[in-house]
Subunit: 393 residues, 2 copies
């Protein structure tokens, strides 16, 4: 395991650990668009907008970094358009850090969902070879072929602060053999990604992604390989896609010891309050998930005693906010009764207000987590939070 | 024509004229929730929310008063629910003035659109008698019967600062005989409304509505009758529903001389830039319309040279704002390119940003109109504005 500090290699990007509490740690990531305090949750702005929210809303929520999806922006409006308009930050008016995924996950997951044809191991319209992936656009069915090199070049055009390697995320029900092949392809592709990224390492930090499915030995092999590339950060992919919670946590526990303690560790696609607590405890620094925003648009919301749905009849005459003492804009301004009305009437304001609350809940939880790690009281905080959270839910 | 000043009769409500410029005038309406400077445009918040916008957005836009629809709120969640939660202002977190319509317009227009059965003069599921109207909910088809008394009582429960008499708005293609009958019913119903409102005149101001279709003698008869009731304000209804622009303006010109100069005059359902200018010039003080907000959600927007649609291909790479030098949040923050992307992707943020611009355009126009009336330069302003506005549109 190499422990060369990232800042030596990537002038504009570095990661500093502040405090540790068991495997949990606080730190800060320096990027060209500002500093990110970790552990951090990154709201997902798939099409260069965190659904329902403006950049000002995100700032009000003290959002540190958002994620945008390369796959969607590649298809529409196209990375060349965004580059011509000055890059993602300028185009979407968000001058804070951005992370783009590589498009890999969407290529496979959206292809898989359609299930057009039979492939090696799972039903999909996606055709994988050693050089890249052929897939059909979920918008118009048009064929595209994406290589690791192109995935990186697209991300160069988008211009995010952190960009991700092009990986193959195999479905949860794949055979061990298929998981192994996908992992090996991911490793080979990573070399192409690193090569394609050479000229841009000072302005954009490339993270590698550990794969290996639900098999400990594959996860270990992958973690070692990814870690050895000495990239500014390491991600864990291919989890939270259908395996059990216990398996997910076991895979994280297996992986973490093989990833440098001095690099940020990013667990992709995870974002419930319980998962954040469990994974921070195991040494994860970064998270993203559509969960809080998607949940918000459909009615469920989090509060100190778990989860409820604003659609519930019992809230019809409820004058209280979604959560007692919550400082979010929604809870400051609106009763459950009014929010229930807005969601029932499919009023756009309702979607936005519910999104604001759920994101605030998760971001505030991360701030609490940060605070408690700093004073080494994380375990007690986690226990107390979960006791309350599960009491009535 | 009686010229008793409103404040003598309605302690919390009065109207003061500041300046006049021809028939155009500036004034201020005092209400229990604040002062409204006229001429004023009122954004429409049908279901107790101006679509896509929060109360804070409305404040940022310097919105003075909003309109909410009694018909929709009566059906869902019900006026009794809103009353229990402290009334419309508290429930929707808008502590500034609100006007509610009586539900009359929606009862007829939404009934007419469905066209279930044959009525006296037009195809509708609405059954009208001298005491009230039977109609079916556009949500579930359930039958309701609404009387003028109930329309006022519902508006008492909602608690708006200005409430409207229950009137019959006959379709534009009605016969003269039918327009006359509808007008007479409206007059009879107004007496019931006034009677039902007696106990609440100090906190809510009831406006009567002139009807009479597209017939000058009916409009004159109606204006005289409505004016003679000496209510705190007079509205003109039944226009902008399908008649020509020239007919609409002719009807306004016919009506205005018979309405007290000392009461605010409210033209219902009108809201394009051109119409506001034409009607302010003819002596109108208040307007409402879904136009700017509905337009915004579909792509068209106003700028100094007319109207365009953000969906236009030519804006794909356009870095400029919707309107040069516009001070709205949208134009401060976003390019046409980004807005076009959001609208194409049906992203909620896009609907909100377009709404903000269009409302700002109309509200800013009203502020300009106000300013120019005060210095007696309204005619020149109108001419210059329209010349520019029509130059490229």
């Amino acid at each position: 395991m190499t422990h060369t500090h990232a800042k030596q290699k990537y002038r504009m990007f570095n990661f500093t650990i502040h405090k540790t509490d068991g495997l949990a740690r606080t730190g800060s990531i320096k990027t060209p668009h500002g500093i990110i305090k970790t552990p951090v949750f990154m709201p997902v702005g798939t099409k260069a907008t965190v659904k329902t929210l403006s950049p000002q809303d995100l700032k009000n929520l003290q959002t540190q970094i958002i994620l945008a999806n390369t796959y969607h922006l590649f298809l529409r409006p196209g990375h060349k358009v965004i580059k011509k308009l000055g890059g993602l930050h300028k185009w979407m008016n968000w001058q804070h850090p951005i992370l783009t995924d590589s498009g890999g996950y969407q290529v496979f997951s959206l292809g898989q969902e359609k299930g057009f044809t039979k492939n090696t191991d799972f039903k999909t319209s996606v055709k994988i070879d050693e050089n890249g992936v052929e897939f059909r656009s979920h918008i118009d069915g048009k064929k595209h072929y994406l290589t690791p090199k192109q995935a990186i070049e697209i991300q160069h055009d988008l211009g995010a602060d952190i960009i991700m390697a092009f990986d193959e995320c195999a479905p949860a029900n794949s055979s061990k053999q298929y998981f192994k092949e996908a992992m090996q392809r991911t490793h080979n592709w990573l070399k192409h990604c690193i090569n394609a990224h050479k000229s841009r390492t000072k302005t954009q930090a490339l993270f590698g992604i550990v794969q290996g499915g639900i098999h400990k030995n594959l996860r270990i092999e992958s973690a070692k390989f990814i870690n050895d590339q000495n990239l500014p950060g390491n991600a864990i992919g291919g989890l939270a896609i259908g395996e059990s919670k216990a398996t997910m946590l076991a895979m994280i526990e297996t992986t973490i010891p093989h990833l440098s303690t001095k690099k940020p560790r990013y667990l992709m696609g995870v974002g419930t309050p319980e998962d954040l607590l469990e994974c921070v405890e195991r040494g994860i620094d970064m998270f993203d998930c559509v969960h809080p925003t998607r949940l918000g648009r459909h009615g469920p919301f989090w509060h100190e005693h778990g989860r409820a749905s604003i659609r519930n009849e019992k809230f019809k005459l409820d004058k209280s906010p979604l959560q007692k003492n919550c400082l979010c804009e929604t809870c400051q301004d609106c009763s459950k009764s009014y929010l229930r009305h807005l969601i029932f009437e499919n009023e756009i304001l309702g979607l936005r207000l519910m999104t604001i609350h759920n994101l605030h809940f998760l971001l505030e939880l991360m701030r609490q987590i940060h605070k408690h790690i700093e004073v080494k009281s994380f375990s007690k905080f986690k226990k107390d939070f979960l006791k309350k959270f599960h009491a009535k839910s």
